[in-house]
């Protein structure tokens, strides 16, 4: 549960079913209903891609699908907004380099 808030003075966080997802081939903790970006953040992963022109690290910025900073390769599909994509069992997530590749 590292990186996840367990006790909060106002909110109750009830996590749904645990699902297995994979980042760069390694399993990370994720729960149904979470977005890919959320699960990665909980695991301390903030660099979600490297930019096409300058190769700079980029991560989550708006978290609501409006800035396209968090594009990743999800299940072989490049340029997917990781902040709007819910985790699914067996999902394979990769950092996107440049403009990504359709696998």
């Amino acid at each position: 549960m590292e990186g996840r808030i367990l006790d909060h003075p106002i909110l109750n966080f009830t996590r749904k079913k645990r699902v297995k997802i994979f980042f760069e081939g390694n399993e990370i903790e994720a729960y149904e209903g979470e977005t890919v970006a959320v699960a990665l953040h909980a695991a301390g992963i903030k660099v979600l891609r490297y930019t096409p022109i300058n190769g700079r690290p980029a991560g989550l910025f708006c978290a609501v699908g409006k800035c396209s900073s968090c594009l990743m390769e999800i299940d072989g599909m490049p340029n997917v907004r990781s902040c709007m994509t819910k985790v699914k069992a067996g999902m394979q997530i990769r950092r996107q380099h440049e403009k990504g590749e359709l696998v």
Binding site: I10, P57, V64
Partner: protein
């Protein structure tokens, strides 16, 4: 293709309020990109200002839940996880759900797509760890994720102030709030909530640079002059792993543009906005706007705008007469906008031809706040905020706000029974309880929304309005409330009752003296304070200088503390006896004869 009387795009406060009105009246569809309705309300944990009809004193996510419950009971089609991608000719909305594009037709359309956060260009602003303030709220309040450990907030509007408080509630460190203007942007009560936690607000400062390679490790901030130019030489570094940008919002107008609504640039309303009349109709007679898309304001005004647009649509489609209801809503909206904080909005709307009469906010001379011997409220709310939560909460007529909800509350201590319901209701956490009598100690009640919740008889620290230590105090009792704003009653010296505004657990951080035995300055000072001032005694009690280094590193510091506390120069202090071995050696080194 499915056809609806009304299609609402966006399920935030404006869209939900519209759908609630439309639901019973006309065939309605509401579309939202997220997997549930609620918009930005779902990530708001603070209680909202307002009046009874607009969920005053209810937390944002609870407002969303109440709306959702109501809408789901109505014959409204709800499409969540549905991203509208365009408005086509012949009143057609195109959206994508589950990877497939689909289209619907509308007679009337309400676009309530809200706003997005303004960007702020600074060096490395693209580094992971720089977020919009809303993103941090999403991670923290919607998904229960810690986005970082040490935060820097840029912008002191309500969002920045609220975010600072919300972050502190999860136990992380908020290093500072940075504001380019010479005054705090948001409401005073929101600022006070952050300030009394000890969060500094740097006015006339801006961020120049984020520091870090793969993600944020810090930031450079600097002072700015009146023209917002950086004053050279004033740069300072702040250690932070997360930078939150909250420098305002701007309307998302693309869909309105595609729906052939005329767009104008009015900075007071947030930038580019669709031209609309006071019933929220745009230049396209079939298209309405509501909420932050029409002008950046509050959730309350968004709800009223949503309702207004919906009522007008019902009139259009069903030819029913709703003129009375509509003019009531227009009046309500005007009241919400009548305070001094809405001056900008009023002047922006005027440019569009919507004149909001400035309703006089009556000023009352405040009644005396305290009366001896009896537990009573103290209200610290002096700004004109559209809110009458305290008046609604008080069943004894001790608090008056009056017809214009922007009027600051007037409190009558003689009528106050000390029930403290107002303390838990106040969204600004600006009401405290006080009891003064002949005894040298006073009772103070403080609204408290942190973990762990203090217990009776616990010793805590009293902190002032800027978060500085004032005095030690004792918790007398804790009143738990279902709305999670609990009240901690403390006993403290009388002279501090008007100074203390927050309580915190004693902060135990103390520098280390001895790295081998992990002894702090605090621990040594405590022994000295108990009357033991001899170095050898202190050594035996604390184990300072007795670790593997043999005291090489900590002896001088320990002697320095003794000297400082007792006033005896180090030269006159005994400094113990040195014994071999002076370096760590293995026991086996001392074995003689047969090594077996």
């Amino acid at each position: 293709m499915k056809e609806y009387d009304a299609v609402v795009i966006g399920g935030g406060p404006a869209g939900m309020a519209a759908a609630e009105v439309l639901g019973d009246q006309v065939k309605t569809l509401i579309l939202d990109e997220n997997d549930m309705l609620g918009g930005q309300l779902v990530k708001q944990t603070h209680k909202f200002f307002g009046d009874h009809a607009h969920y005053a004193s209810t937390r944002g996510f609870e407002i969303a839940n109440k709306f959702i419950d109501k809408i789901e009971k109505k014959p409204v089609d709800i499409l969540t996880s549905s991203t509208v991608i365009g408005i086509y000719p012949q009143n057609t909305v195109a959206y994508v759900k589950d990877g497939h594009e689909d289209q619907v037709k509308y007679k009337k359309l309400i676009i309530a797509t809200g706003a997005m956060e303004r960007q702020l260009p600074f060096i490395n602003s693209d580094l992971p760890g720089v977020y919009g303030a809303g993103a941090v709220q999403t991670l923290m309040n919607q998904y229960g994720i810690f986005p970082g450990k040490r935060f820097l907030i840029i912008g002191s509007g309500n969002i920045g102030l609220i975010l600072a408080y919300q972050l502190a509630q999860t136990g992380v460190e908020v290093r500072a709030i940075v504001e380019a203007l010479d005054k705090i942007g948001g409401y005073e009560v929101h600022a006070n909530k952050a300030k009394r936690l000890g969060i500094p607000i740097f006015l006339k400062h801006t961020i120049i640079k984020a520091i870090g390679d793969e993600s944020v490790q810090g930031a450079v901030i600097a002072e700015v002059d009146d023209k917002f130019n950086v004053i050279a030489g004033t740069e300072k570094e702040i250690v932070a792993d997360t930078i939150c940008i909250s420098v305002g919002l701007m309307p998302i107008t693309e869909l309105a543009e595609q729906a052939k609504c005329k767009i104008v640039y009015i900075p007071e309303l947030g930038g580019y906005v669709p031209v609309h009349d006071e019933r929220m109709r745009t230049t396209n007679p079939d298209v309405f706007v509501a909420g932050d898309l029409s002008s950046i304001e509050e959730a309350t005004t968004a709800m009223i705008e949503g309702k207004l647009a919906a009522m007008q649509i019902v009139e259009d489609v069903k030819k029913t007469d709703l003129e009375k209801e509509i003019s009531n809503e227009i009046k309500t909206l005007a009241i919400f906008r009548s305070g001094p904080k809405s001056l900008k909005i009023r002047s922006g709307l005027e440019k569009m031809g919507i004149v909001t009469p400035q309703i006089e906010v009556p000023k009352f001379s405040p009644l005396p706040n305290s009366e001896n011997g009896k537990l009573h409220a103290i209200i610290e709310c002096t700004e004109e905020i559209p809110c009458n939560s305290c008046e609604l909460a008080c069943k004894f007529d001790a608090i008056k706000v009056g017809e214009n909800i922007n009027t600051p509350p007037v409190f009558d201590p003689l009528k106050c029974t000390g029930c403290a319901v107002c303390v838990t209701a106040c969204p600004g956490l600006a009401i405290f309880m006080e009891k003064l009598d002949e005894s040298p100690n006073a009772t103070l009640g403080i609204p408290y929304e942190f973990l762990p919740l203090p217990k009776s008889n616990e010793k805590m620290w009293g902190m002032d309005r800027d978060g500085n230590y004032v005095c030690d105090l004792t918790v007398k009792r804790v009143v738990k409330n279902s709305n999670k704003t609990h009240i901690v009653y403390v006993e403290l010296p009388k002279e501090f009752v008007d100074v203390v505004r927050h309580v915190t657990y004693p902060q135990k951080e103390s520098p280390f003296v001895c790295r081998c035995e992990e002894i702090t300055v605090d621990q040594i000072e405590k022994v000295i304070d108990s009357g033991i001032t001899d170095f050898e005694e202190i050594k035996r009690i604390t184990r300072v200088t007795m670790g593997p280094c043999g005291g090489k590193n900590c002896k001088m510091i320990t002697l320095g503390i003794i000297s400082r506390k007792t006033g005896i120069p180090i030269s006159k202090l005994s400094h113990g006896t040195s014994r071999p071995p002076v370096k760590p050696v293995e026991f086996s080194a001392f074995l003689r004869g047969d090594k077996k």
